[in-house]
Amino acid sequence: MGVNSLKHSDLLDTYDPEEHRLRISIFAISMAVVLLLLLVHLWYLQIIKGQEYKHLSENNRVRFLDVLPARGLILDRNGILLADNRPSYNLAVTLEDVPDPDALVANLSKILDMPAALLEERINKARNVPFKSHRIKSDIQWDELAKIETNKLILPGVSIEIEPRRNYVLKSAASHMIGYLGEITLPQLKSGRYTINKPGDQVGKSGIEKEWQVSLNGQRGQRQIEVDAAGRELKELSHQDPIPGNNLYLTIDIRLQMVAEEALRGNAGAIVAMDPRNGFILAMASSPAFDQNVFVRGLSSGEWKDLVNRPDHPLENRAIQGQYPPGSTFKIITAIAGLEKGVITPDTRLSCAGSYALGNGVYRCWRKEGHGSISLNRAIVDSCDVYFYKVGQKLGVDNIATYARDLGLGQVTGINLANEKPGLVPDREWKVRRFKESWQKGETLPVAIGQGFDLATPLQMAQVISTMANKGIIYKPTVVAQIEKVGGGGVTKIAPEVLRHIDASPRNIEAVRNGLLGVVEGGTGTRAKIPGIKVAGKTGTAQVIKIGKIRLKLQQLPYKYRDHAWFVAFAPYDSPEIAVSVLMEHAGHGGSTAGPIAKRVIEAFFALKNNSKEWEQTLQALLKNYTEDPGDLANQFHEARSHVD
């Protein structure tokens, strides 16, 4: 120890053991207090705030992911698939796994044929969530998918996500009736009708898709997963399967629907075919139509504007939203009202001299030379205007209105389709309310023949003619025949719903029916005659504007001033199975343009019923308008068997 120990001895001179002990104690106590304070702080964090932090740690690690249910299928009455769900392939990028974003943009831009700037913009949006896959393009095409799969090696960080998407198998078939899907809007979310939906969901925007949204949607399932700090999924903690939506079997026969659509092609108009025995809609066509798949793909705002602003309004379902003056088809109602009010009997003869003068006005019959003295039957068969002017004059507008409403006009039919229009039945009270003017005598006359203020939808007129066919029963028009719960949940059949029996005696109804038969057998509607089937019907030509005294030929008028053509019909006369209403916008005379179309639909109906061989070929030809692969559907058509009756 030598030198060192000597030094120590020097230092010890100043050493005071008591003072030293005190100093050590002060530091010992101070250090112990600081460590105990740390313990107090730990106690505060782990005990006092422990529950709160426990909750926060659970929030950190547990994520709830929704599993979307498969939307219910839509099928026709024979089980032919109209709307299903196809896998859609979405391209996503996980930035964390991309070594060189610029190279990725260049490669993707080539494969997807997308401008690099747009791609870059979308990829940049992923910067906030580098560990999560971020969607760059939705619903890529098959050839794009193939190219991406084969080039996977040069596309690190790119993944394909699969998502179900609505697919309308027969593009544009029954498009208005079936409707389409779109992303749920904020007002819809707030409305309280969409309790099972969340932002970003695809929901029905029109037609059956909208009206049956809740039934078709199904219940979403949920996955509870554990994630790490980077948000990567590690394992599934729990799983609740989604409940798929219900499958809907419609009342329509898609084959008849296609015939109806084909008959309208090139014209604006609508056809409604209905079973008069139960109110089931057999076909409901509106022209022009649109391809619903375009909406699934997603429309740009420009495309949407084009669709909405087109003058021929392809999105409008004319069958329930188009309101037209019913023209002479309204004479059915005036006749029933006249008979029931005792203004006429079936045998009452009134004379027509080609026009009828009332006050200062002269009201013309379509036949300048007049019909002479005719009975009700003849007046219906020849659609004499003057006869019905006189009946209407005797009834007064309020009586006409009562029977028009009884037969279903001026109110929605209650069909389960969105945005149905009520039409219009004018009466005195309405006139005062609407124009603050009292009803003028002369205004009753046009109303009696379905001109003037009268407005009806093709569906309402189908209901009127159906009521004539079934001798007085108003059914609620129905589009869904049965609801099938997926997974053995059973089938609910929709029962026909009788709304009411009209206030008319069988004798009077028979008198009008008789007239309707005469219309086709030898009157204004002979163009609808079908050999072997007794067809009854009524023509109608609805004036769009008053042209004055001289009626111009159709071709001489500008399109928008041309008359609308109506034809309503049912068959067979003795035990009706189908009632049809045809409306063609600006097509001129009802008997000559709408009549043959009604005939075509009725013919098709019976041919399909009898499995006619020649019709099969016609249908196959039609299929080419709806699908690129008609073969498989043709087979389905061949084997079509009704699920409804």
Partner: protein, 377 residues
């Protein structure tokens, strides 16, 4: 060298026991911190830590095997060599997480700032012996030791390693306080220290300023700098009383915790073992600190006394700063928790300082007899 029988008899088994228990807890905790059910960073970290502990124990034995008074002769040379390494690290040090703190020696990355802490203790202990004053240091007395502290501190600050520089300054301040400083001097230093704070702020790097701002209010930036503090507090707090169980800490296993095998290792322990686990570890540290002060007190020479006190202060500061930092009461400055955080430099310098403590502990009687012998002569 000859081994005195009395040395074996006086060996501080209690201290060794406490150290071994803490080191075992540390290894076990590191096993969990890097366990990762789902793959990820190396699972061999805890094995490496075992190697470091074994190597540290060797260093500990080496540092207790000769009389601690011999350190006096080597203190200044070691200090200047270490200072040289601090310069080297600034020049060629390998860049790790934005700061240059390491010299790569192949088998391990040597961190001169860690060894400097131990060497500074020796230097200051020696200085206090050579310059004994009766009624405390005056400002003039403090000039030399202040330079001894500030030279390495500034170099370390340049790395930049704010936490280690801070520890050096704090450590030496506590040692000076222990030796005693004149009241007048103390007041003067305190006031000028407060006045210099804005100047220090001015020279800080942005991330260092951020850490201090974030410490003051972590919720201002919950996804950025505040994230570490918030996640660590969630980990610690969610452990509650009994903890979530070994390997079952969600914050740690799912990597919500930052730096969970180094600076935030304590959070893993607190999450998985709860308040009970934290309590046991802190109490073990408390035993270590109090036993160390006891050693200081029983060592009847100024040098051993100062050396022991310096070592205890060093351990104490690291414990308080690390636990305070992961529980959100102190800013995040990157100080490891002795024997709990992973890291070769930290384990070895901790073990060497504990070895010094044992050295003092086992030689107090030898010195006592020698000292009293000289007193009587």
């Amino acid at each position: 060298m000859l081994i005195d029988r009395r040395l074996i008899n006086n060996f501080d088994w209690l201290l060794l026991m406490v150290v071994l228990i803490i080191a075992s807890i540390g290894v076990l905790n590191l096993y969990s911190a890097t366990f990762s059910t789902y793959g990820g960073i190396g699972q061999r970290i805890y094995v490496k830590q075992i190697y470091w502990v074994i190597m540290g124990l060797c260093c500990m034995i080496a540092s207790l095997s000769f009389d601690y008074h011999k350190f006096q002769s080597y203190a200044y040379p070691a200090y200047f060599i270490n200072l040289f390494f601090l310069v080297v690290v600034l020049v060629i040090g390998r860049a790790i997480s934005g700061s240059q703190r390491w010299i790569n020696l192949g088998f391990f990355s040597y961190q001169p700032s860690e060894s400097m802490k131990v060497i500074l203790i020796m230097v200051l202990a020696k200085y206090s012996c050579l310059n004994e004053v009766k009624d405390g240091y005056s400002l003039r007395d403090l000039v030399t030791p202040a330079l001894l502290v500030l030279m390495p501190a500034v170099l370390i600050l340049k790395e930049p390693d704010l936490g280690s520089a801070f520890i050096l300054v704090l450590l030496s301040s506590i040692m000076f306080l222990f030796v005693r400083i004149k009241w007048k001097t103390l007041t003067l230093i305190t006031i000028s220290g407060i006045a210099a704070a804005p100047l220090a702020w001015h020279f800080m790097k942005d991330y260092q300023r951020n850490r201090i701002l974030t410490f003051i209010s972590p919720d201002n930036d919950p996804l950025g700098a505040g994230y570490h503090i918030i996640q660590s507090k969630i980990a610690v707090g969610s452990g509650q009383f009994w903890g979530k169980g070994f390997l079952k800490g969600t914050q740690s296993q799912l990597k919500f915790l930052p730096e969970q095998h180094t600076d935030f290792a304590f959070s893993v322990l607190a999450e998985e073992w709860g308040l009970m686990g934290s309590l046991v570890l802190i109490l073990l540290f408390l035993i270590l600190v109090l036993w160390g002060l006891n050693i200081a007190q029983r060592s009847r020479d100024q040098y051993g006394n100062m050396l022991a006190f310096g070592v205890v202060s060093y351990l104490f500061l690291e414990i308080v700063i690390n636990v305070g930092m992961v529980t959100g009461v102190l800013p995040v400055v990157g100080i490891p928790l002795p024997l709990i955080s992973y890291g070769g430099s930290s384990v070895i310098s901790t073990m060497i300082s504990l070895g010094i403590l044992m050295n003092i502990s086992m030689r107090r009687f030898i010195f006592h007899s020698a000292g009293s012998g000289q007193e009587t002569s």
